[in-house]
């Protein structure tokens, strides 16, 4: 679809892609240098010291500790520079920025289902605004997939029963490949799509042209009521027999076993599917399990509802279109063969 002006380098369209390319050039340079050095020396020796008489026996050379030390230490130093550089880029980008827009991604055989926090859904296409930080919260319905955007140099596996995240900031408008990179069965190579980077104004236009769909937070609120969460956690998540959910994400939670944790997607998911695993201090193990009753997408909706509960008390979730569409009947657990 698109390559950069440098030969053999894909289009560079995110804040991280040029950093990865710089490291790639360094690695390529070192590789080229050592490959040419080794092959050059070999060719030179092989010609210079070719066998001239069938009976010649060269004088043995014992070896040299000085040389051995040199060619252990120098490669080690070079290797450590590669390690440090690679780890630094990776570490800097491992935590999504706080102010990123969240987009939900669900992978299933063999399509990508994407939902924006304002409710717009798309399949195998991801529209994003230029220059804004985007955080993808990803899970899978069946087996492992991997969300790969070569132009952004990012990739992260998408797993069933787990939430993974990655983030990017696009720096160049255009249409880019989206691939599934983890083999996932028959149509793995058909699990592809495009990422469309638009100017922010254009993107807002696109967003408003796609209204009429319920935001995940609103759908989550309905689930919250229909599943009966409301009885123990309170109508606005203020708590009751169950712990309060207001402002839960990112908060420190103390457990009955004396441990504590920072509430995140994985913790909330576990608490819905397997409530006995971690009991909040001061509460009893009374919550029934919801495993198999909520789909991965519904879990995402519940989470966005919980995230929308502000400390002031009232849910801040608002749908772009107040006319609520009834949420689809909860389907049974994802297809299992």
């Amino acid at each position: 679809m698109q390559t950069s002006w440098i030969p053999f380098i894909p289009e560079s369209a995110s804040t991280v892609s040029s950093k990865v390319d710089a490291l790639y050039f360094y690695l390529s340079g070192v590789t080229l240098f050592f490959t040419l050095l080794i092959s050059g020396v070999i060719v030179f020796f092989v010609i210079k010291y070719r066998r001239r008489s069938p009976f010649e026996i060269p004088r043995p050379i014992a070896g040299s500790h000085k040389l051995e030390t040199m060619w252990s230490v120098i490669p080690f130093i070079i290797a450590m520079s590669m390690f440090a550089w690679g780890a630094q880029i990776y570490f800097e980008n491992s935590r999504p920025p706080k102010n990123a827009d969240e987009i939900y991604v669900v992978g299933k055989q063999w399509m990508w289902k994407i939902q924006h926090s304002t409710g717009q859904r798309e399949i195998n296409e991801l529209h994003v605004p230029l220059g804004r930080k985007i955080k993808l919260i990803m899970t899978a319905e069946d087996t492992i997939h991997s969300f790969f955007i070569p132009a952004f140099r990012i990739k992260e596996d998408v797993l069933p029963g787990k939430y993974t995240t990655q983030w990017f900031e696009a720096t160049k408008a255009g249409t880019y490949h989206l691939f599934c990179a983890e083999y996932c069965g028959m149509n793995h190579s058909g699990m592809i799509g495009s990422v469309i980077v638009m100017q922010p104004a254009e993107f807002d236009n696109w967003l408003s042209g796609n209204v009429g769909q319920q935001s995940p937070a609103v759908a989550g609120q309905q689930l919250y009521q229909s599943l009966g969460c409301i009885t123990c956690h309170g109508a606005n998540g203020e708590g009751g027999r169950g712990p309060a959910l207001v402002g839960l994400f990112g908060r420190k939670v103390d457990l009955t076993n004396g441990q504590s944790l920072i509430a995140d997607e994985a913790y909330v998911r576990e608490s819905i599917e397997n409530p006995q695993a971690k009991i909040v201090a001061g509460f009893g193990p009374i919550m029934p399990t919801f495993q198999g009753q909520v789909t991965p997408e519904q879990l995402i909706q519940l989470m966005s509802f919980i995230k929308s509960l502000q400390v002031t008390g009232a849910p801040a979730a608002t749908a772009p279109n107040p006319k609520l569409i009834p949420s689809p009947a909860p389907s049974a657990a994802p297809n299992r063969q």
Binding site: Y49, S64, S72, T143, I144, H188
Partner: protein, 555 residues
């Protein structure tokens, strides 16, 4: 003039291990390590041919961007089966079970391995595993990828996962038995005077490999059992829908399968150490460094499995530790490459076929190893993992490394194994063709990978076509280059020139007995009084190092 000591009869013996007994039974019930090596040679050649056929189908399909030659279901089976056959039934047993089986006792001056019956048993286990795996292929095949990632393999795949898994499970025991046999043999059966630091480096490499066989293979067996358990009994181990954790599978699988990479390449390094030293008539530069680097690779190879999982949702800190260790494990390999190169300095370098393979190995292994650093470097790995960059990288190690070393070793020891010479001209020609074909096949895949082409894709976006066409063209040259030795080696068994006991004029123990050797290898127990790669005894240096075996044969 003093002769180099040989341990054979003054006149060429008529009886050797090949003509000592006749009949199918004498082969199928043999306990002679050399005959068992030939049984393995025949069987792994068959599996190599089968794996090659699958490779041909892959390259034909990828000529065009559309999936038009095979259906996607068939294509997925083809690449899976290419991987399973090549890794478990060719690469892992290749050098240890053939060259290792033949040469470990001969190079240390023993009459056989420590457990000859267990050695034969290991071949039967291998064949049983092979038959079960072929059953799985014929019954309908398997489509999980050779990596068997859960929960796809445990829950979603509708193919013969259990049968193929059983084949690999059983095959593992043949590896374990071979490894055990080598370890005990090398410890207890060295000839008088054959101290540890007089061992040829091939033996050090076999020893390191055997350690991984014994320590790593059980983990693979456990992993496959758990997959079968979940698939058959629906016990939740890996599938989150049953309460399992799919990342646990990856940890278990790579805990074996990364060391397995070293199972495949360490013996190749051992062969190349022999070839470089012997064909330049130089003692290996930094013998102890080369020997200990094999051991270091075997040990540290167990600590780097997590570099296959940088994007698997593994923790950030685990990723950084695995990245660091992966860079560290590259150093012993670099040390070997530098020492091989330094060995050539002021040598007497011949251009015989085995040496061409060894020189090709160093070049390709350097590229394979250096591109491994791209994958150890987390930020770059995130982009190139699961793309053709990885495919190119491991083929440079497995084909450019192991296969070239195997072919080099096979040519080098062919006179000893078969008692015949291979045709040198054809040998050099095919070595060159294989080198060119290999690079044309896999060099473009690095580029396609960095441009973003994912692996295991049946159809792909058209901008990647040019790289795939180059690759397929290279593969046809490579395939042709591999057919040539297959033909002339078989031909030479009957029509080749008779080989002398020591056609290359070398000091190693295996060259101090007849070609082919008698069943008991040496007619008298050898007593070793020389160092490894001592190309002429010191007092002979001024006699311009003439080798004395021609003198011996006239004594």
């Amino acid at each position: 003039m003093k002769a180099i000591e040989t341990f054979q009869l003054p006149t060429a013996a008529k009886v050797n291990y090949i003509n000592a007994e006749y009949g199918l039974k004498s082969w199928l019930l043999t306990r002679d390590h050399k005959r068992i090596a030939l049984l393995y040679l025949g069987s792994i050649s068959f599996f190599f041919f089968l794996g090659g056929l699958y490779a041909m189908f892959i390259r034909l399909e990828l000529l065009t961007p559309q999936g038009d030659f095979l259906s996607s279901a068939t294509y997925n089976k083809v690449f899976t089966q290419h991987g399973i056959i090549m890794i478990f039934f060719f690469l892992i047993p290749s050098i240890p079970a053939t060259l290792g089986n033949f040469l470990v006792p001969m190079m240390i001056g023993a009459k056989d391995l420590a457990f000859p019956r267990i050695n034969l048993l290991s071949w039967y286990i291998y064949m049983l595993a092979g038959i079960i795996t072929i059953y799985a292929l014929l019954a309908g095949g398997i489509d999980t990828g050779w990596t068997f990632y859960a929960p796809y393999s445990t829950t979603f795949s509708n193919s013969y996962v259990i049968a193929a898994g059983l084949g690999i499970f059983i095959n593992g025991f043949s590896s374990i038995l071979t490894g055990l046999n080598f370890i005990v043999t090398i410890h207890t059966m060295r000839a008088p005077g054959m101290t540890w630091f007089r061992l040829p480096l091939f033996i050090w490499a076999q020893y390191a490999t055997s350690l991984i066989f014994v320590l790593g293979t059980p983990v693979l067996a456990i992993t496959i059992l758990l997959v079968a358990f979940e698939r058959l009994a629906h016990v939740g181990i890996f599938d989150p829908a049953l309460g399992g954790d799919p990342v646990l599978f990856q940890h278990l699988f790579w805990f074996y399968s990364h060391p397995a990479v070293y199972i495949m390449v360490l013996p190749g390094m051992g062969v190349v150490s022999e070839l470089i030293a012997n064909f330049s008539r130089k003692n290996i530069f930094g013998y102890k460094f080369v020997a200990f680097s094999s051991m270091a690779i075997a040990v540290f190879g167990f600590l780097v499995w997590g570099h296959h999982m940088f994007v698997s949702s593994q923790s950030v800190y685990a990723g950084m530790i695995f990245s660091f260790l992966s860079f560290a494990v590259a150093i012993p390999s670099a040390i070997k490459v530098f020492n091989w190169t330094a060995t050539l300095y002021k040598g007497s370098i011949s251009y015989d076929t085995p040496m061409l393979y060894a020189l090709g190995f160093i070049g390709l292994f350097t590229i394979g190893g250096m591109t491994g650093l791209f994958l150890a470097s987390i930020a770059v790995d995130v982009h190139v993992t699961d793309t053709y960059f990885v495919v190119a990288h491991f083929h440079y190690i497995m084909v450019g490394g192991t296969l070239l070393a195997y072919l080099g070793g096979l040519h080098y020891w062919w006179p000893k194994i078969s008692g015949r010479m291979y045709p040198e001209g054809w040998g050099r020609f095919s070595a060159l063709v294989i080198f060119v074909g290999f690079n044309l096949t896999f060099l473009p895949q690095f580029v396609a990978g960095y441009l973003g082409m994912p692996r295991r894709y049946h159809a792909y976006p058209p901008e990647f076509q040019v790289f795939n066409v180059l690759s397929s063209a290279g593969a046809s040259i490579l395939g042709f280059g591999l057919l040539v030795p297959a033909i002339y080696l078989v031909w030479s068994m009957r029509y080749g020139k008779h080989a002398e006991a020591n056609p290359w004029h070398l000091p190693g123990l295996e060259w101090r007995t007849a070609s082919p050797p008698p069943t008991e290898n040496f007619l008298v127990t050898p007593v070793v009084t020389w160092e490894a790669y001592e190309f002429a005894p010191p007092e002979e240096m001024q006699v311009v190092g003439k080798f004395r075996d021609e003198v011996v044969s006239t004594e």
